[in-house]
Amino acid sequence: MQDLNVEEVNVTSAVLVGAAHHYGNFCRKQNDAFMDCRTEGKDPRKCLNEGKEVTQCALEFFKKVKGSCNESFTEYWSCLDYNNQNFEECRKKQKVFDSCMAEKLGLKRAS
């Protein structure tokens, strides 16, 4: 079997949830490819390469976010963390984060 030791995304749930909509837009291709492979054969052993690409794309995404929008993103996910990951409580900080992402990285929220 191939090497299963891959550099993993080392973030907590609030970070993932905070970035989820932008991440969905950024890594659309890799995610779709992996899910297609997975639902087609239902065999994880056959989709290891696609899985590695997904993790790779996620790492790239978070590096980009930390590079450009670190402060607003940290504020946003800290607010989510405090509020049980309830989006409604953090609309103001979300706006700031969204505008930063759109400005600096040209990324919008998916759907």
């Binding site: 995610n31 239902k42 994880p44 899985g51 590695k52």
Partner: protein
């Protein structure tokens, strides 16, 4: 009888006023139609508010589910690698334990299928 100066409880001068014993049930207040319209409009307004809020709740729910959907591949890939690593480790342990047993096939399948069988919790020792 002497002329006593006492007060008598007499009726007022001119007598008492007329006591009307006629039936008196005046028709007053809003008519039935007006009441219906008022009730319907209040309920309609309330339904509008409820409907709009339900739409908002649906969108909030959609946002939450979308977030989960976008994160799913990342978490699934991580989980797959974790499971496969754990199974590999179990196989290695099995090989080490049963190395002196003749005719023992390590990781022998118990099913006659090539498909992936999701592992039981007991198989994932070092998960």
């Amino acid at each position: 009888m002497a002329e006593a100066a006492y007060r008598q409880d007499k009726p007022p001068p001119g007598g008492y006023p007329e006591i009307s014993i006629k039936r008196s049930l005046p028709r007053r207040g809003p008519s039935g139609l007006v009441m219906m319209l008022g009730g319907v409009s209040v309920m309609g307004f309330g339904l509008l508010i409820v409907g709009r809020h339900n739409q908002h709740r649906r969108e909030v729910r959609k946002e939450k589910l979308n977030a989960r959907l976008f994160l799913l591949p990342l978490l699934q890939a991580e989980y797959d690698r974790r499971v496969l690593k754990s199974l590999k480790k179990a196989d290695e342990e099995e090989a080490a334990i049963m190395k002196d047993v003749p005719g023992w096939v390590v990781g022998e399948k118990v099913y006659h299928t090539e498909a992936w069988v999701p592992p039981l919790p007991a198989q994932l020792k070092d998960f």
